[in-house]
Structures are given as structure tokens and as C-alpha cells.
């Protein structure tokens, strides 16, 4: 493998530039990339220090999202041409919109206003985790349903954190699975229910970590529960997601959008 150091330079959190870098780099499997995140590089002094570090790193690659053109110019002094999202996109956007870009404007305000609703959603999702407070299910945007350890809680929290959705989750217990319909408390909320399922092998492995050598973690038990849950999903016509090969981002994006 060819090892390469990749610097991800941002004047903010660096979440976007890291995602872009990972996505593009995944198309070069012959290399072994080591990402170094450098967030909050938001002054000429900080950019100079970063540029010096890059210049001292043989074969370095640089991805950046620096909104200020002056800071981008300083970064180029490293001698390594950065792949900068704004350098790449801003000129074409300016042409398309017929206006010059205003560096840095708008971001802070939009985040702050959005923050409240997302925190509210997180608190809601925690309050309605694992079947708690079913009397508040009518306030939920989405209600995730599935057997124990199928991934309901992380998915609900991600929907709340990323999209500000009030996502409740409700576990199907072995008792619930013995019936031919979903629990009564869910029946008035059918349009907002989403079923989660998983391969029995994967579920057994996950449960095994939590309760080693329990009946709960046997492949047989997992398979029986998943089959019964899927039958209930089908009975009520719920949209279902098989999360076996999915990241939490992927599950959440699919749940958020029409299936």
C-alpha cells in the first residue's frame, strides 16, 4: 500500500470536508490514507501554521473548506495545491446566480435557529426511547418499531440530531410478537410507523455481545423474533428497512425520504 497523509482543513467543524475527502479517496483503493482533521482554522496565523505543517509532510494531500478567499490564498503558500470546496464551487455558483459570494455570511444564524429544534428533537427521542411515554406518540414525526437490538435507538437519535425529526421508538417484545396485530397503542399511529429488521445472524452477534450465551442471543430465538416482527410489518403494510448492511446515516436518510 502507498501511505499518504491527508490534511482536512476547515474554518469550522470540518465535518463536511472530511466527508468529501473520505468519499473521493475511497475511489483510490491502492492507497492507504491517514486523515488528519484540522478544524477551526479561522485566522491567518492558524492557516500559516497549517501551511508550514503541510509543507513539511512529504506527499501530503490537502482538502479544505475555507470560506475566506484570503485564508485560501495563505493555505496555497504551503506549495501543495489544496482541493478547496469553495475555490471549486464559488466561481461557478457566482456565474449561475449572477452575484458575487459573500464570504462567511449566513452560516452562524442558520445553525443557531436550527439548533433549538434539533435539541428539542433529541430530548423528545430520548423521552420516547424504548416504548417510554406512549401517550406522547401522537407528537412523533416517526415511530421506529422492531425487536430488541435491531438498531432503533441509535437511528432515532440520528434522525433527531441530523434532521431535527421527533423520532420515537417502540420495542416489540416476545409477548407482542405472539399476537397477530401490533400492540394497540401503535394502531392509531400506523402512517408514521417504520419497521426495522436485520439478518438473524447479525442480530445474534449483536445480542451475544450484550448477553453472552443467553437464550436471547441464540440464532434460533433471533430468527423466530424477526420472522414474527416481519409478519406484523407485512400485516399492517408498514414500510420496512433491512439494516443489515447499512450505516446509521443510510438508515436515517432512507427513513426520512419516501421509501
Amino acid at each position: 500500500m502507498n501511505p499518504r497523509i491527508v490534511f482536512c482543513v476547515s474554518d469550522h467543524t470540518g465535518v463536511t470536508v472530511e466527508a468529501v475527502a473520505k468519499s473521493v479517496l475511497s475511489q483510490f483503493p491502492a492507497f492507504e490514507f491517514s486523515l488528519i482533521a484540522l478544524p477551526f482554522v479561522d485566522s491567518a496565523e492558524k492557516v500559516q501554521a497549517v501551511a508550514a505543517r503541510i509543507a513539511a509532510t512529504p506527499g501530503a494531500l490537502v482538502f479544505s473548506t475555507l470560506t475566506d478567499p484570503d485564508l485560501r490564498a495563505v493555505l496555497r503558500e504551503s506549495g501543495v495545491p489544496p482541493f478547496d470546496i469553495f475555490d471549486l464551487l464559488a466561481p461557478a455558483m457566482e456565474a449561475a446566480l449572477g452575484q458575487a459570494a459573500t464570504p462567511g455570511s449566513g452560516r452562524i444564524h442558520s445553525m443557531a435557529s436550527n439548533y433549538e429544534s434539533r435539541m428539542d428533537a433529541v430530548n423528545f427521542s430520548l423521552a420516547l426511547d424504548d416504548g417510554l411515554q406512549p401517550q406522547r406518540l401522537d407528537q412523533a414525526d416517526l415511530i421506529l418499531v422492531g425487536v430488541s437490538r435491531v438498531g432503533k435507538t441509535p437511528t432515532a437519535l440520528y434522525l433527531a440530531l441530523q434532521y431535527g425529526l421527533r423520532a420515537a421508538n417502540y420495542p416489540l417484545t416476545p409477548d407482542d410478537l405472539g399476537h397477530s396485530t401490533l400492540p394497540d397503542v401503535l394502531l392509531t399511529h400506523l402512517p408514521r410507523l417504520r419497521g426495522l429488521t436485520l439478518s438473524a445472524e447479525r442480530l445474534a452477534a449483536i445480542r451475544q455481545v450484550r448477553y453472552p450465551n443467553s437464550r436471547y442471543a441464540t440464532l434460533e430465538q433471533c430468527r423466530a423474533e424477526l420472522t414474527a416482527a416481519e409478519r406484523l410489518f407485512e400485516h399492517h403494510g408498514l414500510p420496512v428497512i433491512d439494516t443489515t448492511r447499512m450505516s446509521v446515516e443510510e438508515i436515517a436518510a432512507r427513513l426520512r425520504n419516501p421509501l
Copy 2:
């Protein structure tokens, strides 16, 4: 305001392309943009349907991350030139690395392997939320400390979901705040403690939503608690983050990196 429809087209979750679009568009404050997310556009048929929809939308803007060059070509048939991350970055990356890109390779595997550790971290952060299971604090990567409603739980969950960090959180109660040192259970973990604080006005507003007209939500009470907490942070030399104007992404990115 000039209203413009912005399509964010991705063959995957669309999280990256939406982040890039929002970041770039925030530099054009004279426009009012409406984003339409179109994730999982991963076949020629789906891209054709999207291209037709774009062609039928006057003044549409298009951001995309389509890893397959053939699909990118189909998208351009809409007549609206897309701002595609791969079109913009891949040629320069190929030149820098001296190799052709391999569309779509690598991504699924890296996500799946990462998924386990992130879910493990989420379960850990939930298990050690709000001071629960203090005997497991030695397993934490980070321990967030602060008064009630300062943002510990969402931040810990985001650190777990986004970065796979095992982030515990521990609340400072009015009782704790009456002492001159942090609670004993925290003292053996000082290097991994991080203090969270907030403006008293903001904290009072947040608490007011939860318990209207309570003493807990008064500005006076909030100010007293925050002052006492900040004194404890200073006493022990903890790194402290003031989250007043920050998004959860920003708080998490700052906590993850050296302060």
C-alpha cells in the same frame, strides 16, 4: 428575496452533498433557497427521472455526488449543469495520485466496519448518561461535566454517533456545586473531563421550556449554578467550552480535537 429550488442529488445518503450545498449557498444571502434532497439515486432510470424533474423546474440549481461517471453524464442531460463533487475533484486527485479513480470502490466496507464501534459508543453513552454507572467511567474516552440542561446529553450522543467516541456525561447538581472540588467519583478521571457552560440567559430560556416558572428556571438560579460550575472547572484546570452560540457539530468537533 429571489427564490431558487436547489436539488441535492446523491447515490448515497446525500448528507455530504447537502452539507456542501448549504455551506456554499450561505454565501449568497440575497437568495432564498429551497433544498430538495434526492438520495439513493443509484441507477440510470432514477437519474433520468431526476433529470426530467430538474429540466421542468425553472431556475433550478443542482448539486450532486454521483460516484459513477456514467450516471453523472445522464444527470447533465437535464440541461442544467450540476455542481458535482466528483467531477470537480476526481481529475485533480487522479493527477495528484497518478492513478485513475475506481468508481464506488471502498465505501461500503469502510462504513460497515466503522458501524460497530459507533453503535457500541452510542450504547455506552446512553448507559453512562446523566451520571449513570459511574463505576464504568474508566472506560470512557471523554466525560462531559456541567449543570442540568447545558447540552451534555446531545453532545455525548453526537460524539458517539459521528466519531465513535465513548462519551459519558455527569451532571453537577446544586449539591455538588456547594463543594470546593468536583465530586470524588470524577477526581480519578481528570484528564478526560471536559466542562460545558452556557450563558445564564440561554440556560434560563431552555429550562423555562421544561419547567415553566420554576425556581430551577430563574435567571438568578442559572447564574449561580453556572458561576459555581465554572469555578470548579477552573479549580481543576478543565478545558471548558461555552456552547452559547454553537451547534452540536461545532461543540463535538472542538471537544474531539485539542482545545
